[in-house]
């Protein structure tokens, strides 16, 4: 019997999934779990969903109502739209924050995918002096707390006159060690040498080979990497807060402003929270499956 990882190597992820499912079925001794497992898991899911619903409940009520009922009833009151429109009218540049978050997250995700795939292609499939040690170096950098370099990074950005400018957030995130490692791992198994050789025999340049052969082959892993990068830059706070400030905020920075300015108005703040969460929840509904698969594959390989 071939193992599931072996199937993944030889026949791709889809076949591996099938083999995994079959392997599960074929073990007759493993019965379906009893109600206790489902009950416990339901509690876990409720614990991860309730705080979000709680935010929505508060966003649908009034400040007076929140004081009266600290534990809100599960049926929302009717003030959600009103609170949302107050957030949009609040003095926090909400639409600009949304636009900035979209720009930063999209540009970062596209760039990380592109540069990581390029580097992954090189590490996985091309032969050059120093390849092994350089790859080890890339992996080692993931253990370095680079956030602690904020002081000089800020000085550099100040000298470039980039304080308050989106590129100050985008540029440091253009390519990540995690991304390079991730794409290297994937391309090692997903891109056959024969394809590269065929392209080279046909006279394609290195870059052409990358663009027409490696990039399409990397698509599933690239999609996952793009998703993770998007979530990460959408939720990023520390550096955007320092370098952008209140003049040109991203969404998390705008939320901080909302809290600082209207801290007594809980229904307003929670409406802002709900607004900031909705876009990623939609992404999650559409692509949560890929996120789950991405984390689990990364774990096995990493």
């Amino acid at each position: 019997m071939t193992s599931v990882p072996a199937v993944r190597q030889t026949a791709g992820a889809g076949a591996a999934r099938y083999a995994a499912r079959r392997a599960h079925v074929s073990i007759g001794s493993e019965r379906r779990p009893r109600w206790l497992t489902y009950t416990l898991l339901t509690l876990v899911i409720l614990a991860s969903a309730y705080p979000l619903y709680y935010a929505f409940l508060l966003a649908s009520s009034t400040s007076a109502g929140i004081v009266q009922h600290p534990i809100p009833s599960l049926i929302p009151e009717g003030h959600f739209i009103e609170n949302v429109s107050r957030v949009l009218g609040a003095d926090i540049k909400f639409w600009q924050a949304v636009l900035n978050s979209v720009i930063v997250s999209v540009v970062t995700a596209v760039s990380v995918v592109l540069f990581s795939t390029l580097a992954g292609f090189s590490f996985a499939k091309l032969r050059f002096r120093g390849r092994g040690p350089l790859l080890v170096f890339v992996i080692a950098t993931t253990a370095i707390p680079t956030q602690l370099g904020v002081v000089p990074l800020f000085i550099v950005m100040k000298n470039l006159h980039w304080v308050g400018q989106l590129q100050a957030v985008v540029v440091p995130g253009l390519v990540t060690a995690f991304g390079v490692f991730w794409m290297t791992q994937y391309l090692q198994s997903a891109l056959p040498y024969e394809l590269i050789e065929a392209a080279r025999v046909d006279g394609a340049s290195m870059f052409r080979t990358f663009w027409n052969i490696a990039l399409p082959a990397a698509r599933p892993a690239a999609a996952m990497l793009g998703l993770f990068t998007f979530v990460q830059s959408w939720t990023n706070f520390f550096w955007p807060m320092i370098i952008l400030g209140s003049t040109n905020p991203t969404l998390p920075v705008a939320l901080q402003l909302l809290q600082g300015t209207y801290f007594k108005d809980m229904s307003l703040i929670m409406a802002g929270v709900v607004l900031s969460v909705i876009p990623l929840l939609l992404v999650f509904l559409g692509a949560g499956r890929q996120l789950v698969a991405g984390i689990m594959q990364g774990a096995v390989k990493g």
């Binding site: 392997a23 073990i27 379906r32 779990p33 497992t37 876990v44 899911i45 991860s48 979000l52 709680y54 600290p70 534990i71 540069f115 390029l118 580097a119 292609f121 090189s122 590490f123 091309l126 032969r127 050059f128 350089l134 890339v138 950098t141 253990a143 370095i144 707390p145 680079t146 956030q147 602690l148 370099g149 904020v150 002081v151 000089p152 550099v156 253009l174 390519v175 040498y193 025999v201 006279g203 290195m206 979530v231 939720t235 706070f237 320092i242 939320l255 901080q256 809290q259 703040i269 929270v273 900031s276 969460v277 990623l280 999650f284 949560g288 499956r289 984390i295 689990m296 774990a299 990493g302």
Partner: protein, 336 residues
């Protein structure tokens, strides 16, 4: 040949062909192509190395330079002051408080988190109906920004008319000063961290659990091992590399915690008595509120060293613990 693509060899024949047809361009095309093969690999990996050097390594090293200078946020570089920034910082009680808080929040969040993630992963590892639903369910909090998480839990743990205190009131427990008491505030912040990250780490551990060969469990079953015994004697030892990975990454992230404590109240200062100021918050306060980048750099450098030391301790410790728990299993196998 089988292990690596060697473009020079495979690329030559067609180029030779080309050469016989168009003799005048041989030199240039061939030289270009050879150059392409030689330089491209380095060119493709260079974006990462250049970027890392500029925004990762250089700032980290230059932090040391800034830390030995008088360096104002607005005034820029001043005199060389030696280790004065360090000794100033080491004499501040807020510095030590911030370290204490960071370590306390880190332990209070990571220990329960890893235990919970292990248990939930074990639950998910069963032959469930609607697997994807449960897996996606535990991951939902991951897409909520820490800032939003902190705002939500800041209200749940509000001192007056908060969710938690009201609930405690129903069962006859007195209100807890989540924003005034040191330990309580740490617990509240640790809860936020765990809310966001437990599901993520659960899935990592679940993946590793599913890679454990099922026949190990079958033979344990034949030997009469209970499910609990199987968990401790097979699952945990087999998860060793993944556990080390999870613990190390959560150490590096956890010791730099900023978003959650910063947003725990509207001032962002970490409480009246700095009950929940973390080291990264302290760096921010020194650098951008007190406008003293020199001192901020000193704290950053100290925190960097601390993370390095703790990561190493962590690494050796997890290794030893995991090895210890492997040994009985091995012995058992040998006996059979």
């Amino acid at each position: 040949m089988a292990t690596t693509a060697t473009p020079p060899v495979t690329g030559r024949p067609p180029r030779g062909d080309d050469a016989s047809r168009r003799p005048r361009r041989v030199g240039l095309t061939q030289r270009l192509s050879r150059w392409d093969v030689k330089v491209s690999p380095y060119l493709y990996i260079s974006p990462f190395f250049v970027l890392f050097a500029v925004v990762g390594l250089f700032p980290l090293l230059y932090t040391a330079v800034v830390s030995v200078h008088d360096w104002g946020l607005l005034t820029g570089q001043g005199d060389f002051v030696g280790l004065a920034n360090f000794s100033d910082v080491l004499h501040q009680s807020f510095f030590w408080k911030s370290l204490r808080n960071t370590l306390s929040i880190f332990l209070l969040s990571s220990v329960p988190q890893i235990i919970a993630a292990l248990v939930i992963a074990a639950l998910l590892d069963a032959n469930l109906r609607a697997k994807t639903f449960w897996r996606m369910g535990v991951l939902v909090p991951y897409v909520v920004a820490p800032v939003a998480v902190s705002l939500i839990f800041g209200k749940i743990f509000a001192d007056q008319s908060g969710w938690m205190n009201t609930l405690l009131g129903y069962v006859g427990l007195g209100p807890i000063g989540w924003h005034t008491d040191v330990l309580s505030s740490h617990i509240a912040i640790a809860t936020m961290v765990d809310f966001r990250w437990t599901g993520y780490n659960t899935l990592i551990l679940l993946a590793a659990m599913q890679a454990i060969p099922r026949d190990l469990y079958e033979s344990a079953l034949l030997d009469g091992a209970t499910r609990v015994r199987q968990f401790f004697s097979i699952t945990i030892p087999m998860l060793r590399p993944t556990l080390i990975f999870v613990i190390i990454t959560s150490t590096i992230g956890g010791l730099q915690i900023f978003d959650e404590p910063r947003m725990f109240d509207q001032t962002g200062m970490g409480g009246n008595d700095r009950q929940w100021t973390t080291a990264t918050m302290y760096i921010y306060e020194l650098g951008w509120t007190q406008r003293n980048l020199g001192r901020a750099a000193a704290v950053a450098w100290l925190l960097f060293l601390l993370i390095l030391v703790i990561s190493l301790v962590n690494f050796t410790l997890t290794r030893r613990i995991a090895t210890d728990s492997t040994r009985p299993a091995r012995r058992k196998k040998a006996r059979r």
